[in-house]
Symmetry: C2
Subunit: 403 residues, 2 copies
């Protein structure tokens, strides 16, 4: 059954309010005329919807910046950024981050801690994040309203309930991360959790390199390689929510490096952190973001071993990316996380593999980019996850939320 | 903008009529109660919709088969299969097929010709198909109405206009196959064209092994290997409609067999027709469906070389399938075309690769199946393509169509 069948008037109004608020939230400011055009509604309907959102303190209307033209300028609608915010959390392989993010996507304040690479138990991680969260909550100006929470995690998440199915880096299996963080924050709000690469993909599509694209692939490098794949405007989830595992695509079946998953020759085994450091001849004691950046810097300074290491990584990365382009015919492939640093030195090999292996019709139009949001892609994605409830039913959520 | 915004009453009614007809078309017969439940509408609305479709001659209502229970049985709604039909065409690597297919999906009549493997130009192919089509059209009983046409083609199709971008097997580049077939048939109906593996995937999802599944992968083997991937209930098309090219996923980057695309080690180079025949030591003069089946039969009879050949194919096939499961987390993988014959002898290797390479959460629930529609999967898909217009707007299409 198409979703629109049997929709009642009230439901249509609620969705229209959410859609209008989403446009304003993502664009920052939009004229009523632009909103009318995007939503396919007439201007009097837009005026009525805007009036409701204004009365609820979600948006405000302002004269636009001087247009230089004569006549009365049409008002623009902006998000009420001084009042409404979400808490966003990011559990990455090397750090714990929390931020207060305003409606409109403005990062207001943040707290960050380095995380040791070795395992950390649920209790310790939630402890740090809850402390950050409470501090951010209490530092918000009087009258501010926290309308949601979202978290990004570097592992596999069970859809719907914020449970970490598998966190390879921390050794977590079936840990109730979202529910536990929600309980410790004590704000009466749920904590939806998303995989970092999934959220990074959505963030790049909403606010980054791929704004508005319906088909894009985001590769997130850290210890391994995660993926977020957007198909027809939606994140690919598959039957159980466990799709997008492009890091475990086998690219080197017979001489492959061992992978953390127990197999050999997976993309992440061939292009992950350790693969690059080994290729560059770095000792096993060096690891992490700084070690990767050191190789990249050496290559930039002309060091042949570092350059060759990036080229080797680029060849495997190119095979993986070519396969993905043949499968998904995306408009863009985005390299994020540590792959953002590694990509420039590997780009020639990636492009050569695409030229050799991708069918011309899919190759013609694809663009390759590094993440526009940089290290914050996953945190921005977590914030957007936090805004989801509000944007689905702005007035309803606001009525149920207390400052 | 969500699609439901601003939908007017008339549009809702049209969609409801199409949705009801689609359910009856795919299920064969459904009670009013079942229709009400599936569509989320009350029974009086279902009664009104059914009455409209009955008056237009699209469905009829009948008493159900004896239920053995007392009381007046509820009527069932069936498609009016004796009156409405589509013409379906299939241009496969080894044959040309045409069929008259009734509403409800019943194959009424068919015409088939063996096609020589060597190139055939547009003119010759359309000539044969148009002759078949006209013969089927004229043999329909008086009062029959042809409501649409659909065609399947073994190559890349430009979405929307039925132009073959690339037909590797026939050497076609940018040939206006759909428009030309439409012109020669002279029925005043367009001929939408789909790639054979895409249509096979949809057919298996609508009437075959994967009925109702929202996430499935269909692999179609002939000379090469094509794919149809259904994500969230819809065929993956990507930015230009050229996704799903799983046959050109590189699985053997350094010792790979040459592929028709110009690259090496593509999945279709490693598991296609020639790979199997070479592995089984068959001479270059043997090819096609019969040659494949001879190897499979030999393996069934215990011939070690034939068995080993299928196992070798199975290993490469397993790598490809494992990659696809990691990427798509599908509920089912379906092997069609010649892979349907090859799969049973290769299944152990495929399963072993899945066990080694797929992450447990995605591996747990995936089912592997051979095509339930067999050699007709692509033809059934072409017929469904032909029904698409009618199911989008039953009364409108009927009003514009003359018997």
């Amino acid at each position: 059954m198409p979703p629109e069948v049997g929709l009642v008037q009230e439901e249509i109004r609620r969705r229209n309010l959410g859609t209008l608020l989403r446009h304003v939230h993502l664009d920052g400011s939009l004229s009523r005329a632009a909103l009318a055009e995007r939503m396919g509604l007439n201007r009097s309907t837009i005026m009525a919807l805007t009036a409701e959102l204004t009365a609820a303190g979600l948006v405000r209307e302002e004269p636009p910046a001087d247009t230089g033209r004569a006549g009365r300028p049409s008002l623009v609608v902006r998000p009420e950024s001084n009042r409404l915010y979400v808490l966003a959390f990011d559990v990455a392989v090397d750090r714990l981050v929390a931020a207060r993010v305003a409606l409109g996507g403005i990062m207001l304040e943040r707290e960050e801690a380095v995380r040791p690479r070795a395992g950390a138990d649920l209790d310790r991680v939630v402890d740090v994040l809850a402390r950050f969260g409470r501090r951010l909550y209490h530092s918000a100006p009087p009258g501010s309203v926290c309308v949601g929470i979202g978290a990004s995690y570097c592992g596999m998440i069970r859809p719907g309930d914020g449970v970490v199915r598998f966190g390879p880096d921390m050794g977590w299996v079936d840990q109730a991360f979202g529910p536990e963080l929600s309980r410790r924050l004590g704000l009466g709000l749920p904590v939806p959790v998303g995989n970092e690469a999934h959220l990074g993909a959505l963030a790049e599509q909403q606010r980054g390199a791929g704004i508005g694209l319906g088909n894009l692939i985001y590769l997130h490098g850290d210890v391994g390689v995660g993926g977020g794949i957007i198909v027809g405007g939606k994140l690919l989830d598959g039957e159980g929510g466990y799709g997008c595992e492009l890091g475990h695509m086998v690219v080197n079946p017979y001489n492959g490096r061992p992978c953390g998953c127990g197999s050999h020759g997976c993309l992440e085994a061939e292009v992950g952190e350790r693969a690059l450091l080994d290729a560059a001849g770095r000792p096993a004691e060096e690891w992490g973001r700084d070690a990767i950046r050191a190789v990249v810097d050496d290559a930039d300074r002309g060091d042949p071993a570092a350059q060759e290491a990036l080229r080797r990584i680029g060849d495997w990365l190119g095979i993986g990316v070519a396969n993905l382009i043949n499968l998904f015919n995306p408009a863009m492939v985005i390299f994020g996380g540590m792959l953002r640093d590694m990509y420039p030195g590997a780009a020639a090999q990636v492009r050569a593999r695409i030229a050799a292996n991708v069918l011309p019709v899919a190759r013609e139009r694809v663009r390759l980019r590094t993440s526009a949001l940089g290290d914050d892609a996953t945190l921005v994605g977590a914030a957007e996850l936090g805004f989801r409830r509000l944007l689905a039913d702005p007035l309803g959520v606001l009525a149920r939320t207390h400052p």
